[in-house]
């Protein structure tokens, strides 16, 4: 199958993720959407890696996963603390600071 299709898929996933970030209220979901975007990137990297026949892309993909994991740690910590202090995980509720 033409590797290019993987790129299209990656782009699609990335867009879905981005859209999710834009439309979903729940912080956790938003965050998951971000993760989705990262994984879209991974897909693209791997696809390119295959096309170019060198390993860099795959290596980077691994790094990305690690980074994603780290982000989860930090992110969940923050989101949880927010949730505990306001009993809601809606990003729209967190709008004290504006203008």
């Amino acid at each position: 199958m033409n590797p290019v299709n993987y790129l299209y898929l990656a782009a699609l996933l990335f867009t879905i993720g981005a859209t999710g970030v834009l439309i979903r209220r729940n912080a956790i979901v938003v965050f998951m959407c971000v993760e989705l975007m990262l994984n879209a990137c991974n897909l693209a990297l791997v696809a390119f890696s295959r096309m170019h026949g060198n390993l860099d892309g795959q290596i980077i993909a691994f790094f990305t996963m690690v980074v994603a994991a780290a982000e989860v740690v930090v992110g969940l910590a923050i989101i949880v603390s927010l949730f505990r202090s306001r009993h809601s995980a809606s990003v729209d509720d967190a709008s004290l600071m504006k203008l």
Binding site: L22, V91, A94, S95, L96, L99
Partner: protein, 648 residues
Amino acid sequence: MENLIALLVAAPLLGAAVLLCGGRRLDAVGHVIGTVLAAVSFVIGAILFADMLGKDEEHRAIAQHLFSWIPVEGFQADVAFQLDQLSMTFVLLITGVGSLIHLYSIGYMEHDERRRRFFGYLNLFLAAMLLLVLADNYLLLYVGWEGVGLASYLLIGFWQHKPSAATAAKKAFLVNRVGDMGLSIAIMLMFTTFGTFAFGPVLESTGETSEGTLTAIGLMLLLAACGKSAQVPLQSWLGDAMEGPTPVSALIHAATMVTAGVYLIVRSGEIFNAAPDAQLATTVVGAVTLLFGAIVGCAKDDIKKALAGSTMSQIGYMILAAGLGPIGYVFAIMHLVTHGFFKAGLFLGAGSVMHGMNDEVDMRKYGGLRKYMPVTFVTFGLGYLAIIGFPGLSGFFSKDKIIEAAFAKGGTEGWILGSVALLGAAITAYYMTRVMLLTFFGEERWRNQPTASPADPSVEPAAEHQGAHAEPHPHESPRSMTIPMIVLAFGSVFAGAFFGIGDRFMHWLEPVTEHAHGHPPIGATTVTLSTVAVMVIGVGAAYLQYGRRPVPVVAPRGSLLTRAARRDLLQDDFNHVVLVRGGEHLTRSLVYVDHTLVDGVVNGTAASMGGFSGRLRKLQNGYARSYAVSMFGGAAILIAATLLMRAV
């Protein structure tokens, strides 16, 4: 000898400086210092005169260069004096009459606690006036020109606590400024035309430039003259100027300063000779003012204002003469001098009357004063005869000559000007007789009726113990006041004859103003006779109106003309409506414009910026997702733009 010229100016200047900066400790001796220094200046003048007479006509003019005043690339203004016959005439007049009036003021201002300052101002005036007539270039003349303006401003407003006085002073200065504008423009024109504004070079090289330029310069000089000499249309200030102490009116607003315009025109003779249009304008101004002043003089009940009108009209004669060119210059100056004598005399007389009448100025409240103040009566009477041109007295000689010259101008102009001058003579006779009768003859209208006018502060203490409503006790003035009057009376009697007979004065001035004999179409004798005739008519008319019938204390409503004349023929109202009111509206609206428009634009931009900011910051609505939207959109735009850049 040359070096004396500077002293001439320096003496009174020193006086002014000392008196004005000296402070109270000089109060006791101030008037003495002032008078002495004025006299010193007169003596110096006399010495120089004697020296000048010693020389032959060609070499009489002397000059003194003090220092270079404003040295700038291509622009040379010096402080330098020139003393020729013309200047000398003025020097003697100014210092002579000036000294007399200093003397007179000692008595007149006796009760004023600010007498020292008064003498300071008088000295300042003398200095400025001498500077004016001694300057050897127009710019220095300009300094004197405005200097006398300042002095007159200070003296008119001497009793500053009187709003009327302060206003009159301001008015005088402002109207004069308009004239000064003319003078400065004239000087600028000279500079651009001749590259200099020293009398010598300018007047010699008049031939080298176009008549148009010269006309322009001439008209500008005329404007200046109108301001200083209270000629129509800038005459309005002189009447109000009578707010000043009477000696001031006598010295500045009768004898000397107001005649500076005549000096300016005669001095600039060559320019006018080469610019007939300017000359014509001058004669017209003179003629108009001559009538204007005379008519106003007839209507005024305030003795000083009546005399002021007469001054205006007499100077009208001089300007008229000066406008006639070489045939008139000499007579203009001659009339100027004689007028200096008799008009000063008249004013001092008026002052002396007021002095005896608790400063009452309304002639309708005088009457029959001749037996209470004989000296004043006699001197005033002589001055009166002189001004109406009673044969043999000085006025007769000078005025008659001017009328001749006016006719001699020839053509219709000549006829018109001449007849106007004649008419003026008649009216002069009329209103002066009126003054005379109202003041010294008739029944004593000042008895048992209150003195209306507020007592002059200088005699406040007196006024108090008399009570505000006490009836005045007319009395002769002190010696220090009568002596000057007597001296001036002599002048007004004999000066004319002395000058006129054998054309002494003409020969004296000729080298400076070069004289041309004018031949009136109707012989000189006819003119003389008609002059006398109209004079008699004028006197007669006045006698019929004021000598035979009792004079009402309260002025009758009078004819339309009379009422208009009482209001200076309404031109003051015109000024008020057009200039004052209009000006106020203009400035007020400008203030508004400055605040709303000019300032508004800036504040407006600031405000709109703020509003824009306020709207813009609404985007920062606190919702993380909308921030994400802007980022997403931004990214999209960024990518699109980048691709676009490549596409184009």
